[in-house]
Symmetry: C2
Subunit: 381 residues, 2 copies
Amino acid sequence: MKVKSMIMSLLMLVAIPLNSSAQQNLWMGDGIRSVEIDDTQRVTLRLYAPDAEGVALQGDFLAERVAMSRGEDGVWSYTTEPLPSEMYYYSFVVDGIGEIHDPESVYMVRDVAKQMNYFIVGGGCGDLYKPQAVPHGTVSRVWATMGDMERRMVVYTPAGYETSKRRYPVLYLLHGMGGDEEAWLATGRAAEIMDNLIASGHAEEMIVVMTNGCTRHVAAPGYSEEGMWRPYMSGSMDGSFETMFEDIVAWTDKVYRTKAKADSRAIAGLSMGGFHAMQISKTYPKMFDYVGLFSAAIFRGKEGVMLYDNLEQRLQKQFAEGVSLYWIGIGCDDFLYDENVKYRALLDTLHLPYTYHESEGGHTWRNWRCYLTDFAQLIFK
Amino acid sequence: MKVKSMIMSLLMLVAIPLNSSAQQNLWMGDGIRSVEIDDTQRVTLRLYAPDAEGVALQGDFLAERVAMSRGEDGVWSYTTEPLPSEMYYYSFVVDGIGEIHDPESVYMVRDVAKQMNYFIVGGGCGDLYKPQAVPHGTVSRVWATMGDMERRMVVYTPAGYETSKRRYPVLYLLHGMGGDEEAWLATGRAAEIMDNLIASGHAEEMIVVMTNGCTRHVAAPGYSEEGMWRPYMSGSMDGSFETMFEDIVAWTDKVYRTKAKADSRAIAGLSMGGFHAMQISKTYPKMFDYVGLFSAAIFRGKEGVMLYDNLEQRLQKQFAEGVSLYWIGIGCDDFLYDENVKYRALLDTLHLPYTYHESEGGHTWRNWRCYLTDFAQLIFK
């Protein structure tokens, strides 16, 4: 502490130039630039590990781990081919130690039980996932009352909400198994996507409510009296979450300036959240005019749950009440692809209209960010 | 991706028991329990690294790095002596690779340019830093308008704010050099401290506004169009932040249900933020009745700034307008200790009354969390 204090003291006495390596050394070890994206969208990743015998790189932009090359300065590096615009995750694998985070980057997102370093390549959809020079909405972590329980939610209100007197439509956005109310903000980039789509006029101004769809917990790990538990593949497909939704909507309509009617409400979710969106929208057939099923786990509900019975009649009732958009998106490699085929066949048989979007890839955030981007531009118009 | 999809598919077909090691293995590598706190407040830390030749542990609970012991299962471990209740940081040092994060924990906070794993030992002040079974306030990331600029702030509103019609006092809470609007929430545990103090009746219900005191940036790294820049020891001690404060308070009073008068406003900050709190409170002598200087960098302002001139007269004017509490806290080992002695001597000479708290230790978050805890209990009474 003493050395640090002395250095801090010195630092405070002198002007500190931007990116001075001296002050970076204080906080960042060796101060190398660990992620560098060039004009051709090639990315160079670096790790300082002079004593390592071998360092590999892994990331979702690579088919498999690749060896990094050691420079004379002890810095290992690897440069990719030009990468399509996207948000990417990476980690380093050192000798036999296993996967390690980038010690030079503070940019991490948690997906279920893993913290991941990331970078974003611009020039395409990645630009939507970055904060741009546009007005930014507010992101609030709130505790909503549901019966005698308090549960945590994340609420996005669009730029200008605080000072306008207007009422806004609401999109309820649901995570998948293992996720929680933080998931759409972190790996989902929901706040950046909404800011950018609204600013460019591609989406209407809207409130986005991100719920917690695992009823065994009241909040994401670390945010409640349950303490610092280890995240796992938790979820609720037994009707317990769906029956909370009336309270969630009532609380939202009470606390926020919402347009509290079906034509100003949308519900969408990914995987288990797609299942929830499907179940909730038909359980409350007068509540939502817009429904989005992203890689939905359509037929995974627990057996014997009354809420899940009579699927056909309930869907017919929901559509009879009026549905403006019933949007289904899935990747052609998704492990849930076949059951989405089956579900569309059911809707076809019942003559219930839907919009279908099939993408490449599988059960990934890369797809879910795109689906949100597409869906958000179609609702409340 | 295919293997992951298949495993996810399997997982969704079976009931997933809580803490099943199978599903943890999917997301967490080897699934060991990396932090274990026993009833005697001894903490065992573990890292799975079967091929490492040596692993050390470092943390702010240790005077120096300690060697960890390798078990036959390839898990390295170390058990501490009983630790006083507190929030602690730790990392592992593997062979010559350097410092690595705990791959088994998702619990990290960023301090300036470093992500740090942490744990909290309860049984004392640490209990204040954990979420407890009490009503929780809302934490919002907002963009406040200051002149023609938008800058990001974090706002805590106490539990019940959304549904009450009441007006609340406001504490403006300022970070130190290198920090930003996220600092008091992360390492500062401000939301947990306020929730717990308010719930136990030790603090009044209040709004807490956490600003960004570095005028070269509009937001913490990664949250604005400035992109994913590398945090550094940035700060503003040239008057540029202080002169924004009128707009910050006006915006807060406009957007939130505040009690918009001096006896319901407090300002406090740590290090550079203590300097800011001192300067701002005397620049706007009718604005704040409560002032808190935590390890304040009293005499570090840039020379030649008119705002910083005539310290004595301006302090006299501020106190003449009425100050209910002028609270100064510092650790006896702090590198700013001497200038705080000098500042108190000045206040004594001027017969300006203050409350002084001297603690052990230095320029640390451990002290600043305590100072916030003390200060928050004294204001708005």
